[in-house]
């Protein structure tokens, strides 16, 4: 799969500040390098997934999975909140962006729901995270994209 272009990461050609930050962090990086970024500062770089273009999102989202399933993410409730926020925004604004990474999205969501205690999600602070994850899984499944 070719690396995302500048336009793939920033559809406004760098005019939008959030896209610009994503461009600065991810442009020219392959999935393995992106994965290193997520281990380095997961929440900070995961925010970029909210703003980057559709193709770039499909390319870089799978790079978040190694961190989510690793021991490093134990106790990191913030990354679960970020994940929910990103995927909700994507599903509301641009569900097609989920199409090309349908399988890793479902895999990550299911892992998070089944391993919530690992992330030490305090429901008093974070609300009904399990319920939100279940809703997202259902929404992604009903999109009915077949991964190729």
């Amino acid at each position: 799969m070719p690396l995302p272009t500048k336009e793939d990461i920033s559809p406004t050609s760098g005019a939008d500040l959030d896209e610009c930050a994503a461009l600065e962090h991810f442009f020219g990086k392959n999935q393995s390098e992106a994965s290193t970024l997520f281990f380095e500062n997961p929440e900070y770089f995961a925010d970029d997934l909210m703003w980057m273009g559709r193709k770039a999102f499909a390319f870089y989202f799978p790079s978040l999975e190694p961190y989510i399933i690793s021991k490093e993410s134990a106790g990191d409730a913030d990354i679960i909140n970020a994940l929910i926020g990103i995927l909700k925004a994507r599903l509301d604004d641009d569900p097609v962006s989920i199409k090309d990474c349908h399988t890793p999205v479902l895999r990550v969501l299911m892992f998070a729901r089944e391993n919530l205690e690992k992330f030490q999600v305090d429901t008093c602070v974070n609300g009904d995270v399990a319920g939100e994850l279940s809703d997202l899984i259902e929404r992604v499944q009903t999109l009915g994209f077949a991964d190729t």
Partner: protein, 235 residues
């Protein structure tokens, strides 16, 4: 009685018509009397006629002035215009024949009919929009920088580490709240291009997550019995 001045408002002897470039404030004699022999007060700052320069920077030029210059670069402004814009001390863009300053902040073209008035208003609006965009960009840069320092809060850190992380998170949340309060997604050209409403909704989601992150970090700190923890102000 009219005073005679050089084009850059330096007073000269004699009586004559108002010289182009002479400020309205000079005609109205609103300048500070003690300072008026060497500098003229325009309302926002002092002007020094001998050198043809302001004694302080253009208040509209900061903060975010560098970003404004980048925007000018991107918009294809020629080098000469950029250089005059770049110097926050220069008077009426070094063109006192065709422009005058009304208060130390706004440069207005010498009126040549209603078209010039429209142009002046348009220029002021453009300058105001550039100022607002620059301010929003500065807020965005500041909260992103704070965010980078605020992440990584987990169990079993030391109390000084929690204090540092919570302080950075508070700064980030404050910046994000200010960004939303100022409706920056409706002022930044890039946000408008990326659809303001969508951007604002997603920024609100991010802010809500950052408030949760503060709560998670404060809970970790409380478990370590840390005292004098940062409280999250109400935004």
């Amino acid at each position: 009685m009219h005073r005679s001045t050089t084009p850059f408002t330096l007073s000269t002897r004699g009586v004559g018509a108002r010289v182009v470039g002479m400020p309205l404030s000079a005609v109205k004699s609103t300048e500070n009397q003690r300072f008026s022999r060497v500098a003229k007060y325009y309302g926002y700052r002092y002007y020094h006629p001998q050198t043809g320069r302001w004694l302080s920077r253009d208040p509209l030029g900061e903060p975010g002035h560098d970003l404004m210059l980048e925007m000018l670069d991107a918009s294809g402004v020629d080098q000469e215009e950029k250089l005059t814009t770049d110097n926050l001390y220069n008077f009426v863009f070094n063109d006192s024949i065709n422009q005058y300053d009304i208060n130390g902040e706004w440069v207005v073209p010498v009126l040549r009919g209603i078209v010039a008035i429209g142009g002046a208003i348009g220029m002021q609006i453009a300058k105001r929009k550039a100022k607002q965009a620059a301010e929003c960009a500065a807020i965005h840069a500041a909260y992103k920088a704070a965010e980078k320092q605020a992440t990584g809060c987990k169990a079993c850190l030391t109390c000084p580490e929690y204090v540092k992380l919570l302080t950075a998170r508070t700064a980030e949340i404050g910046g994000r709240a200010l960004y939303l309060k100022k409706k920056c997604d409706y002022k930044l050209p890039g946000s408008i291009a990326a659809r303001s409403k969508k951007k604002e909704t997603n920024h609100r989601t991010e802010l809500a997550n950052k408030v949760k992150a503060f709560g998670n970090c404060a809970a970790h700190a409380a478990r370590e019995n840390c005292a004098n923890l940062q409280q999250l102000p109400k935004f």
